[in-house]
């Protein structure tokens, strides 16, 4: 994530990415694009989940409701930023013929989703009408 700032410049200067290495098989690029889109869908689902917590749990205390919704929205923002950053890193690695970058983001996101889910269970059992 530290090289995010460096990569942001590449988002808006797409011709620079072609300066490095050689163009990979288009099928690999398309697979990379689909992975990017899958992460973007995950981000949109998290954002939709934020709306859903706010809309479909109206009996919840304000703090819990808004807290959970904002946590899901923040996860969605992080997920979409990471999606484009990881897509760019994979694309550059493929052009240079390097190994694809590894990432601990999937593990982190799983943990966050698990924590939010546990919080939901707790809130629905205990915090209801609290």
């Amino acid at each position: 994530m530290i090289d995010l700032a460096r990569n942001v410049r590449l988002w808006f200067a797409p011709q620079k990415i072609r300066d490095e290495g050689t163009t990979p098989d288009y099928r690999f690029s398309l697979a990379n694009e689909r992975t990017f889109l899958a992460w973007l869908r995950t981000a949109l689902a998290l954002i939709g989940g934020g709306f859903a917590v706010d809309q479909f749990l109206p009996d919840l205390r304000w703090g819990w409701r808004v807290g959970l919704a904002l946590a899901l929205l923040a996860a969605g923002v992080l997920c979409s930023l990471r999606a484009v950053n990881h897509w760019l890193r994979c694309e550059r690695a493929m052009r240079r013929g390097e190994d694809l970058p590894v990432s601990r983001f999937p593990a982190l996101l799983s943990l966050v989703v698990a924590i939010v889910a546990l919080a939901m269970v707790f809130v629905v059992l205990v915090g209801w009408e609290g």
Partner: protein
């Protein structure tokens, strides 16, 4: 990855461009669900002026996303070895998503 057919390029047996096109379609559907939930939030909240403005922003970002998806889908449908997604398109799609999340945060709190 199967081998390319000898004697000219007929069709990618893995249907990569089609799969990518459908992935864009699925993603626009996810975006539509989020935008519809945003509208529901505004309408259920009593439709204040600020709420309607934020809702209009949500719809604008949703349309922006549709535009990016549409141009990419057209590129994918036109050629059998389509050009790589440009970082600018990827950034535009992601910025629309983030803007939607920011609108959501404004609507909820």
């Amino acid at each position: 990855m199967t081998a390319e057919p000898a004697g000219g390029w007929t069709r990618d047996p893995g249907l990569q461009p089609e799969r990518t096109r459908l992935a864009w379609r699925r993603t626009t559907l996810s975006g539509t669900v989020a935008a519809v939930l945003a509208m529901r939030t505004v309408l259920r909240g009593g439709a204040t002026v600020a709420g309607v403005l934020v809702c209009a922003l949500c719809v604008a970002f949703w349309l922006g996303f549709l535009l990016v998806a549409h141009s990419r889908i057209r590129t994918l449908a036109a050629a059998h070895d389509p050009a790589t997604l440009s970082p600018r398109q990827a950034a535009a799609a992601v910025l629309c998503t983030i803007a939607l999340a920011v609108c959501a945060a404004a609507l909820i709190s």
